[in-house]
């Protein structure tokens, strides 16, 4: 469960990135975070894996208040959260396999388990057989799928995605969203930030609309 209680994030220049955010996303549910560029979507997502701290208010993950968490506890929290970025964050000097294997190596898995899980994750995103390919050899869509495989390989309970289809064509975008939907179907809590209104309309998922750092609307899923 992800819960925001009166969360605000104010920057050093005095401007608010987020203001008085309140919402609750129960375990296993999926939601979209919508809004224009600069509305505060990325700022909100960064608070969940403790990449940033709120200036005031509470962020609770699984009922646990992140404000009370020490620095040494962040790794354990972050291992439970898969994050997909718009700009991939892939290591271009390493092949696909190494990129996807990274979360498992960091968590202390043995090589045999790493291989098995990486293959399974790549299979899910349709890239089985491309383990040895270098990142530069892949198309934008393939790179984004590697990104998704890396976010999922550790079987996280929560999946966050920040504009995951930003640079992709509509067909590929839909394909990526379909995969997120599949993960949600197996019990993963999913929160996706996107401004692609047309694409989001195709999915019966509740939407949290942000505008200038505030929640402007909370729309239940349309069926």
């Amino acid at each position: 469960m992800i819960e925001f209680a009166n969360v605000s994030r104010r920057y050093a220049n005095g401007q608010f990135g987020l203001q008085d955010i309140n919402f609750r996303l129960p375990t296993g549910r999926m939601a979209f975070l919508t809004g224009h560029s600069g509305a505060g979507k990325s700022t909100l997502l960064r608070l969940i894996p403790a990449l940033d701290r709120p200036t005031s208010g509470k962020v609770l993950i699984g009922g646990y208040d992140l404000n009370k968490m020490g620095h040494h506890q962040y790794p354990k929290l972050r291992r439970q959260i898969g994050v997909v970025f718009q700009d991939h964050h892939l290591l271009t000097d390493r092949p696909v396999f190494d990129n996807v294997a990274l979360p498992l190596q960091v968590s202390g898995y043995l090589p045999g388990d790493v291989r098995r899980r990486v293959d399974a994750a790549l299979d899910k995103v349709g890239l089985l057989g491309r383990q040895r390919a270098r990142i530069e050899e892949l198309s934008g869509g393939e790179q984004q799928r590697v990104n998704i495989a890396r976010a999922l390989v550790n079987r996280p309970r929560i999946l966050l995605a920040d504009e995951p289809t930003g640079n992709l064509d509509p067909d590929l975008s839909r394909d990526i969203f379909d995969r997120f939907f599949e993960f949600h179907a197996v019990g993963v809590t999913v929160l996706i930030a996107s401004h692609d209104v047309e694409l989001l309309k195709q999915y019966p998922v509740p939407r949290i609309a942000l505008n200038e750092g505030r929640i402007s609307a909370f729309e239940e899923a349309e069926s």
């Binding site: 469960m1 701290r53 646990y64 964050h89 202390g108 890396r150």
Partner: protein, 320 residues
Amino acid sequence: MSGPAINEARGNSEKSRRPMAAWRRHHRQCLRGAFMRLLRRPVGAWATILVLGVVLSLPALVMTLGHQVERLGAIWMSDAARMDIYLATDADEAARGTLRDWLDRQATVAEQRVIPPEEGLEALTERLHIDGMDALESNPLPWVIELTLSDARSDTRLALAEGLRAQPAVAEFSSGDDWIQRLEQIRAFFDELGWWLLLLLGLTVVFVVSNTLRLELHERRREIALIALIGGTERYMLRPLLYDGTLSGLLGGVVASGLVGVAMSVTSGPIERFAASYGAAISPQIDPALVLLLMSAGALLGWLSAQVIGRFYIGRLSTP
């Protein structure tokens, strides 16, 4: 950390994790990686190692110089481990006996030889080539006891001198230890200078290595930020850097040992000739303990540099 989401999530994934095996494996990877990075950037990495070698060799050379002074000093000191005691004119045989007994009990006295006034006069006459000494009404020379000491350290002499002053039969004794003290002071000065230089230049090493590692960290900042995001601990992120720093420091120590070795072989001729003029044979060679010290100091300073810069930089990249 507790919390339902976090605990729920572990489940069966916990069974296939082997933290200790993974830890060992990561150490092996980091060590291999440190060597690979060294080979990948030979000029930059070896330039740092060479600088470390030169910096570390300076205190080592000073210490070596101190060591040579000590060795030369030891040759002189073998002559200096003597002391002459001049007895009071009124010291009779019983008093002399008491003094000799007391000297026998002193652990610092290895040997004692009694020189009666007649023998002293004879030796003096012979040494100064003076005739007519027989005409003297009485022998003006006192009884002398010539001591051989167990060692020539100034504190040994001082302790004995203190005891001698309390002996009524003793009129005077040759202290003659000023130059020994001076020699000891010189040796101690070189030693202390070496340690201070090691400390000061050690700080330089920390700056040099830290700067090189900072560049390395800057290049790897995306990777570090990513590892932090996917749950890498600070130790995990720091580990490759610790291997880089330790390896550079260790190799810097090896280079420093080599430089000291070269300096010693260059100066060996003059030192050998100097020692020969005192009838001693010294062939200067690098002390294995110094090599060990240089390598350990290099490795320790490299590791310390990595800790300092790594914790600062990684902390900034991985925490809000």
